[in-house]
């Protein structure tokens, strides 16, 4: 069934978009991520302009993370204090990201920036995840005990000033790395149309030693607030949020996420991380291929004004 999108100004097959929402929602529920890094390229692939795709996916991620936050909140698995500190950096990062997005769009270099960022970010993160999960699987097969993180292990991050105590996560860290992580997530989210969950969770674990009990719920709080504010900022500055497109994606996404979450519970953690790593790397390589291989059309047109 064709439906006309009022902002993207093209008709799309409603069931195709709903199906994409379901599929990405399934993956996001399974791995506990927003899935923006999959959704944005898919939308671009079906002919929606990258700018509209990035802006609309922001609200789609807000919806799926909202559903997640409420579930984790009931289980008391959300560290609100930590989330708010991350947010302080996140809001600033989002504002800088939206500004950069607008500037690059005016310069005609938005597509290439999104492309290169996807390649660098996804290949790196995907590679690291695969490496880490394969090591874990091998260790397990050799029968060696898991090297558990020692409780009092300190890195240079813990030497920074402005220390704060986060009760629910049971950590005592400096506010500086917390703000920095928030800023990075907000920034990449606004520029690349991704929630950054797949970046934030490992960062919180490796740099701040946030326990696994609260890491996903807290990550989702940040994703929810940054993506909701990215929606408002994109709508205010670029007028590119397609509410109809976003609604179809949301409905598919939240339903898919429920089934994905059930599928994920039946899998072992390191297998799950390996799968996610492969997926992230594959998307990264897909973007690399697109940048390196000569495009089918060297020319492109874009309206910049009307009389």
């Amino acid at each position: 069934m064709q439906i006309y999108l009022p902002i993207a100004d093209i008709p799309v097959d409603m069931f195709l978009v709903l199906g994409m929402g379901l599929a990405v929602g399934f993956i996001s529920g399974m791995f506990g991520i927003g899935g923006g890094f999959l959704m944005t390229p898919l939308l671009i692939f079906i002919g929606i302009s990258p700018a509209v795709a990035v802006a609309s996916v922001a609200s789609h991620i807000a919806a799926s993370s909202c559903s997640g936050v409420l579930t984790y909140w009931r289980r008391r698995a959300v560290d609100l204090a930590l989330g708010m500190m991350l947010l302080a950096g996140g809001i600033l990062g989002t504002a800088v990201g939206v500004w950069l997005f607008t500037t690059l769009r005016a310069l005609g270099q938005l597509d290439i920036t999104i492309g290169v960022s996807y390649v660098v970010l996804l290949s790196t993160v995907g590679g690291l995840m695969i490496n880490e999960s394969i090591r874990a699987i091998l260790r397990e097969q050799q029968g060696k005990p898991m090297t558990l993180r020692r409780g009092g292990a300190h890195t240079w991050v813990h030497g920074l000033p402005l220390k704060m105590r986060f009760k629910r996560s049971k950590i005592y860290v400096s506010a500086i790395p917390v703000w920095t992580i928030g800023f990075i997530i907000g920034f990449v989210g606004a520029v690349m149309g991704i929630g950054g969950g797949f970046l934030l969770v490992p960062m919180l674990i490796y740099f701040l030693h946030v326990p696994t009990a609260t890491v996903i719920g807290t990550s989702m709080v940040l994703t929810l607030i940054t993506m909701a504010s990215a929606t408002v900022m994109h709508a205010t500055t670029n007028h590119l949020v397609d509410a109809v497109l976003a609604l179809i994606l949301m409905v598919g996404g939240v339903i898919g996420a429920q089934f994905g979450a059930r599928a994920g519970q039946n899998m072992r953690g390191e297998r799950l991380r390996l799968l996610l790593g492969l997926l992230v790397l594959a998307v990264g390589l897909r973007f690399a291929y697109q940048l390196v291989v000569q495009p089918g059309d060297l020319y492109s047109i874009r309206q910049i004004g009307a009389e």
Binding site: I7, A63, T71, I112, A228, L298, Q303
Partner: protein, 261 residues
């Protein structure tokens, strides 16, 4: 007396438009729809233009050759950036670009036959008949001009517009049902922008442009589509707040519906 007024009108018309000779035929056109409504199920449409050519003067009634027509449809003007990708440090990136200033967003050049069979080269150029002769001014440095149909940016701009079915040329797009009655179909893709469209009809015979007429129609978004588009453009902040609220409501709703604890 009536005849006297007709002659006076014809004389005035010839004064106003020197290109059209005094022995002009009269052109009457009718368009099937003056308004195209874009709703959620809009996937493009077609508009039919009918018309008759009425030989008014004894001289025009004696014409030996038949009539030929051109119908040019112009959509709202827009400024478009055309960019070219080149390989830079191993990756393909936008390098060169040109801006097309106030060019029609939609352009259909329809005619009964290939234009050069019934119009002179001068007429084709002056009246901008056909896609190749239509002036598409580009911003080149401080100047604005059309470097001609061989320009690679122009060629590719027209090619991309044609691929989106926004620009078209059909040399069999106008059908003469009888020697003086014609019909043409204007196809509008879903991507055709909102705004007013002009239709310019010219009648040719003996390599002369003997009559000219115009018509118009508009494409408007209605109902929900119009509401969303206007809200997004004029009240961006509140629209954004509404979109964010919608997202949170959807999320909350899902967490309630699928709650298992």
């Amino acid at each position: 007396m009536k005849r006297g007024i007709a002659i006076a009108t014809a004389a005035l018309a010839s004064l106003l438009s020197a290109a059209i000779p005094a022995s002009a035929e009269r052109l009457v056109t009718s368009i099937s729809r003056h308004q195209v409504l874009v709703t959620s199920s809009f996937t493009g449409t077609a508009i039919v233009l009918f018309g008759t050519i009425e030989p008014d003067t004894p001289a025009s009634r004696r014409r030996a050759s038949g009539y030929d027509l051109t119908v040019t449809v112009l959509g709202p003007k827009q400024t478009v950036m055309t960019r070219k990708k080149e390989r830079l440090l191993g990756i393909w990136t936008n390098t060169d670009s040109r801006t097309f200033v106030n060019v029609p967003s939609y352009l259909a050049a329809l005619s009964t036959r290939p234009i050069e069979l019934f119009a002179t080269a001068d007429m084709i150029r002056q009246m901008q008949l056909g896609l190749d002769s239509f002036l598409l001014p580009q911003q080149i440095g401080a100047d604005v001009g059309d470097p001609g149909p061989a320009d690679p940016f122009r060629t590719n701009f027209v090619r991309l517009k044609t691929a989106h079915r926004l620009y078209s040329q059909k040399t069999n797009g106008v059908t003469l049902l009888t020697p003086t009655v014609f019909r043409t179909e204007i196809t509008l893709p879903a991507e055709a922008p909102i705004g007013s469209y002009e239709v310019d009809v010219r009648v040719f015979t003996d390599r002369l442009n003997v009559a000219r007429g115009n018509s118009a129609f508009e494409i408007v978004k209605v109902g929900f589509e119009q509401f969303v588009a206007t809200a997004a453009r004029d009240y961006g902040f509140f629209y954004g707040i509404a979109a964010a609220m919608m997202a949170m409501f959807t999320g909350w709703f899902a967490s309630v519906v699928f709650r298992r604890d």
